[in-house]
């Protein structure tokens, strides 16, 4: 970033004297080096060379505002949080300088100043703590872990379980394989529309005259009520499909009357 600084200014208007440009560069470098406005304030506070607890917040505010002014004069773009801090410090400065307005409530200038001092002290304390932390002996640098750790061999013992119920169910399954079916899906008693469609296409050639759809049911599906129902439904759906395709005609003389079909164009 510092390298790009001068370039940016060289592109700018040439009226800036060299000295000002150098100052601007220095300032840019400085702003870049700060970790935000609080960090800058802390650096400024250190220049007062007093205990942070006795830092003059008013003086600090003035220093900061002067810095911002200078940056503005040099047309340095400052991040928004620097400007927010400047506005707040300007407000604080006015509070500190003017006699307290009894009409106005809210914290006094002194309270706000004390808080800022606290924040600075806390930030500095954390910096010191961080430095002490990093100064400790560190693993992999000062002390070391076992170089040849021995892996714990995991012995996985698999224990198989089966209950008497499992055993009996298994046996029942085998002994009755032909008839024993889990009653989830009874495929045997289900006639699909695809099956019916397939079947009817094959039979269509014979349907020159009107035929009752019921007589089209396949063998073994006419008596058992469950099978009859599913076969009928499948064939009905299939006949609708065939009618839609223009292959057959359907007629029903009355509600619930038998449904008749015949091949289209048979006559």
């Amino acid at each position: 970033m510092p390298e790009t600084g001068p370039d940016r200014f060289e592109e700018g208007p040439a009226r800036d004297p060299v000295a000002a440009r150098l100052a601007a560069e220095a300032l840019i470098v400085d702003v870049e080096g700060f970790e935000g406005p609080l960090d800058m304030l802390l650096t400024l506070a250190r220049t007062q060379k007093v205990d942070l607890r006795r830092v003059s917040v008013l003086q600090l505010a003035e220093q900061y505002l002067a810095f911002i002014e200078q940056a503005k004069a040099l047309r340095i773009e400052l991040a928004a949080d620097y400007l927010v801090m400047a506005a707040w410090l300007a407000f604080l400065k006015s509070r500190l300088l003017l006699p307290p307005d009894p009409e106005e409530d809210g914290p006094s200038g002194e309270e706000l100043a004390a808080h800022l001092a606290f924040q600075l002290e806390r930030l500095e304390a954390m910096r010191a703590a961080a430095a002490r932390l990093m100064g400790r002996d560190q693993k992999g640098r000062d002390f070391f872990v076992r170089g040849i750790p021995e892996d714990v061999t995991r012995i996985r013992r698999v224990e198989y379980t089966a209950t008497l119920l499992d055993l009996m169910q298994a046996y029942a399954r085998i002994r009755t394989k032909d008839e024993f079916r889990p009653y989830v899906f009874d495929r045997d008693a289900l006639y699909t529309m695809e099956e019916a469609l397939e079947r009817m296409r094959g039979l269509l050639g014979y349907a020159g005259e009107w035929v009752d759809l019921v007589t089209w049911l396949p063998e073994g599906w006419e008596t058992d009520p469950v099978r009859r129902r599913t076969a009928t439904a499948a064939h009905f759906a299939a006949s609708l499909e065939l009618a839609k395709q223009g292959q057959i005609e359907i007629r029903q003389s009355d509600t619930f009357a038998p449904i008749h079909i015949r091949r289209k164009g048979a006559r």
């Binding site: 872990v145 040849i148 012995i155 499992d166 009996m168 046996y171 399954r173 024993f180």
Partner: protein
Amino acid sequence: MTDRERDQEDSLFEAPPMAEQERMVEAILFASAEPLRVADLNARMPHGCDAALALTHLARRYEGRGVRLVRVGESWAFRTAPDLGFLMQKETTELRKLSRAAIETLAIIAYHQPVTRAEIEEIRGVSVSRGTVDQLLELEWIRFGRRRMTPGRPVTYVVTEEFLDHFGLESARDLPGLKELRAAGLLDSRPMPGTSDEDESGEDGQAEMFEDES
């Protein structure tokens, strides 16, 4: 401590005291990712150190401890004491359901014992894999019975005491028959039209089988 300090002062440009050398060897060997030779140790320790001597001291210190200093070829390393090797294992038990093939095979053996592999296959309608039988043998739920006196003298399988114990049975004959299974709702109680007689006969066959045995 003052002794050591004096020692160190005396030997500002000499080798550290042997106790210190021992510590160094200990730390280096502990942290090293591989066994180290005496020469490696000497190379890493301050000038004038005698790693070989420090090693003998250190080895003595670890005698009878949970870890020991051992020589691996030309090199040295710390190793777990052999008698504590069992601590380096972690046993985990995993419960797993028996596969369908295994439970079916087991059921057939239980209901039809003594039974040959060919018979099991005939009843199940599929071949029985070697692994399935091995697994049941390993679980000690089945064992070999007497050979069948038929051509080829095939081995038979029977269930074990361990099996009875696991399933809480006094004898294999306590296994419920098909009728009881049906009564217990384990079988679809709605027989297919025209097929009801068939499984009845199966049941008979099974009863027969147990009678054969006695």
